[in-house]
């Protein structure tokens, strides 16, 4: 706070630090983009220079139209949106119950949810594989949605609870005095006020589902059902020399996350602290 108030050396140091952080954060992403737009024939001669001598969008074109990229992209979009919608809906219900009711078993359920946040998810990868396999649902995107939804419910619930906690209880009570049933109060008064919270939760869950890799690797083996991370990994082994295409695919994979990130940015501080402190 009081650092770097007047002393020029401190001010210079501060800006140097800011620059260093910025470089550290952005350089890898810049590199991703740079290789993606470097023409193939220049990669080996200029692979490590900071700026290529000529640019091309060929890699993007190839990735989009000559590979299964759009398949993977579509699958991932389907899974992530499905997970985000299902999780947000379910977590909103659970968060509302935690925020507004005092009931028998509440502490136990909260404790269980906290524990699920702590134990290694990989622990259940074998049982889940066998369960899903015995139901004949391997290579099904729906099974991924169900699994991801369950994984994300605890955190999303705590997040939604913190949003509901931020809405005064008086408002619902006033609505009930005004003649609403509890559900009407929820729909007419609480729901409109919690829209930003719902949006933020959607964003969080979407990003989480978008980047999940290990369970998808285990449960999906057919090419047409692969989600983006799985598909991209097979890309890497299949075309291990075609750097430009892989990075172009990487840049494209970044787009949805970044869009959501911009959207949820302002809720990050609020959401994370409530999630973290409660843990």
């Amino acid at each position: 706070m009081t650092v770097a108030r007047s002393k020029p050396i401190l001010t210079a140091g501060k800006y140097a630090a800011l620059l260093a952080y910025l470089t550290f954060a952005l350089f890898p992403l810049y590199w991703l983009l740079k290789i993606a737009i470097t023409p193939d024939q220049l990669i080996f001669s200029e692979g490590t220079t900071l700026w290529p001598s000529s640019l091309t969008l060929d890699n993007f074109r190839t990735v989009l139209f000559q590979t299964d990229f759009l398949y993977y992209f579509g699958n991932s979009l389907y899974v992530s949106l499905g997970t985000a919608a299902a999780t947000t809906l379910i977590a909103a219900g659970a968060g509302y119950a935690f925020s507004r009711f005092d009931f028998g078993g509440k502490k136990i359920i909260i404790a269980i949810m906290l524990i699920t946040q702590m134990f290694p998810l990989l622990m259940i990868i074998a049982p889940i594989y066998k369960m899903v396999a015995s139901l004949g649902l391997l290579n099904s995107l729906t099974s991924l949605i169900v699994v991801y939804t369950a994984f994300n419910i605890p955190f999303a619930t705590f997040l939604m609870q913190s949003f509901f906690d931020g809405i005064p209880k008086d408002l619902e009570e006033a609505a009930m005095m005004d003649g609403c049933s509890r559900f009407q109060a929820l729909r007419k008064v609480i729901f409109p006020l919690t829209l930003p919270g719902l949006g933020a939760t959607l964003g969080f869950v979407f990003t989480a589902a978008w980047s999940e890799l290990l369970f998808a690797l285990m449960l999906i083996s057919k090419n047409e059902a692969m989600t983006f991370p799985v598909g991209l990994l097979t890309f890497v082994s299949k075309f291990s020399v075609d750097w430009g295409q892989m990075m172009a695919a990487g840049v494209l994979a970044l787009i949805p996350s970044c869009l959501f990130f911009i959207f949820i940015q302002r809720y990050l501080v609020q959401g994370l602290t409530s999630g973290a402190v409660k843990g």
Partner: protein, 359 residues
């Protein structure tokens, strides 16, 4: 409009009883104020009447009908919240008309009622604003508008003025009094401010620690408090209480001054005497019951408050009308208007007055 009855009502949280044996009969059109220190259970009682808090035991009736298990929406009661609880995403008009919207009343009737209420409360120019664009006083008015618009059987107020500054509070207090006169509706009002209680109430219910201490008109509570708690809670500044020894028709202070109290029954049981600051006269040093030295003198213009340090008894507050030319360090004689004195037994219960005809 309706009579509201509470019979042996109890509220528990788990095994903790926060309200015990509440019996109250509120007449149609009566203005009842629930008053007490924070944590006494007054807000809980109000919320039980509203239906926001379940009643653990006992019966609650509106218009003779048992309402314990009726949902808030079906009780036909309006409530003004301490926080106002205005819906932040609705404009003033929609906030006020929300209850009619929920009940699917015709839109044109709703409009005209909203307009009427807005006119009554001086909100006509503000009906399209959102709550966040209103001042505290305006929000308070909207909250009241929301209550009056539906013509309910009873109004509940939960410390409605506590978020306003002093001058607005006086203004809104008058407004509520006027509203009660105009509507003649049953009103139940919770406050910790005894001035609001004394000025607004037909009858005051004093609560402490989950028990009703006394129910009565403002004057009754002032003149005949049932116990030491009520005596000290009602009246400003607070009543002086000094330890005494009881005797026949008199009490004796620690330094041996006897004060005759012929108007009280059973003075033998008295262990404390209470006297309001306005019931003590300042007299010549040897002409009164007590002698003390003025410690602090507050000149309020209309009144003078003198904190007198009485040897052996501790500080005694005296309030006199007008300007008394006393100053710090003065030696003063104090004469107690013994006909206005109260005495309390060991359990805090006030000794009954001989001229009252209570049962």
């Amino acid at each position: 409009m309706a009579r509201i009855e509470l019979k042996d009502v109890v509220k528990c949280y788990g095994t903790v009883e926060v309200l015990r044996d509440i019996n109250l009969d509120i007449k149609d059109g009566e203005f009842i104020v629930l008053v007490g220190p924070s944590g006494c259970g007054k807000s809980t009682l109000l919320r039980m009447i509203a239906g926001l808090e379940p009643i653990s035991q006992g019966d609650f009736l509106i218009g003779g009908e048992r309402m314990n298990d009726v949902r808030p929406r079906d009780r036909d009661i309006a409530m003004v919240f301490q926080s106002y609880a205005l819906y932040p995403h609705m404009d003033v008009a929609r906030n006020m008309g929300f209850s009619m919207e929920i009940r699917k009343d015709p839109a044109n009737e709703r409009m005209s009622r909203v307009k009427q209420a807005a006119d009554t409360l001086g909100l006509t120019a503000l009906t399209e604003r959102l709550p966040k664009a209103l001042s505290g006083g305006q929000r308070q008015r909207v909250a009241m508008g929301r209550a009056i618009i539906r013509d309910p059987r009873a109004f509940l107020f939960d410390e409605p003025l506590s978020n306003l500054d002093a001058s607005l509070r006086v203004e809104m207090r008058l407004e509520i009094a006027r509203l009660h006169q105009k509507l003649g509706a049953t009103m139940i009002y919770v406050t910790h401010d005894q001035v609001e209680a004394l000025t607004l109430a037909d009858r005051i219910v004093v609560l402490n620690g989950g028990d009703i201490q006394q129910v009565g008109s403002p004057l009754e509570l002032y003149e005949r408090p049932a116990n030491k708690f009520v005596a000290q809670f009602i009246g400003s500044p607070t009543m002086n209480v000094v330890s005494v020894t009881g005797g026949k028709n008199k009490v004796t202070t620690a330094d041996g001054v006897a004060i005759a109290l012929p108007h009280l029954k059973g003075t033998e049981r008295a262990v404390e005497m209470g006297i309001r600051p306005e019931h003590i006269d300042v007299v010549d040093v040897n002409a009164g019951h007590l002698i003390g030295i003025a410690d602090v003198v507050e000149h309020l213009g209309s009144d003078t408050n003198i904190y007198v340090d009485v040897e052996g008894l501790g500080p005694i507050l005296v309030r006199k009308h007008g300007n008394i030319p006393a100053k710090t360090g003065d030696r003063l004689g104090l004469r107690i208007q013994s006909e206005n004195a109260h005495a309390f037994a060991a359990d805090g219960v006030a000794l009954r007055q001989t001229n009252t005809n209570e049962a």
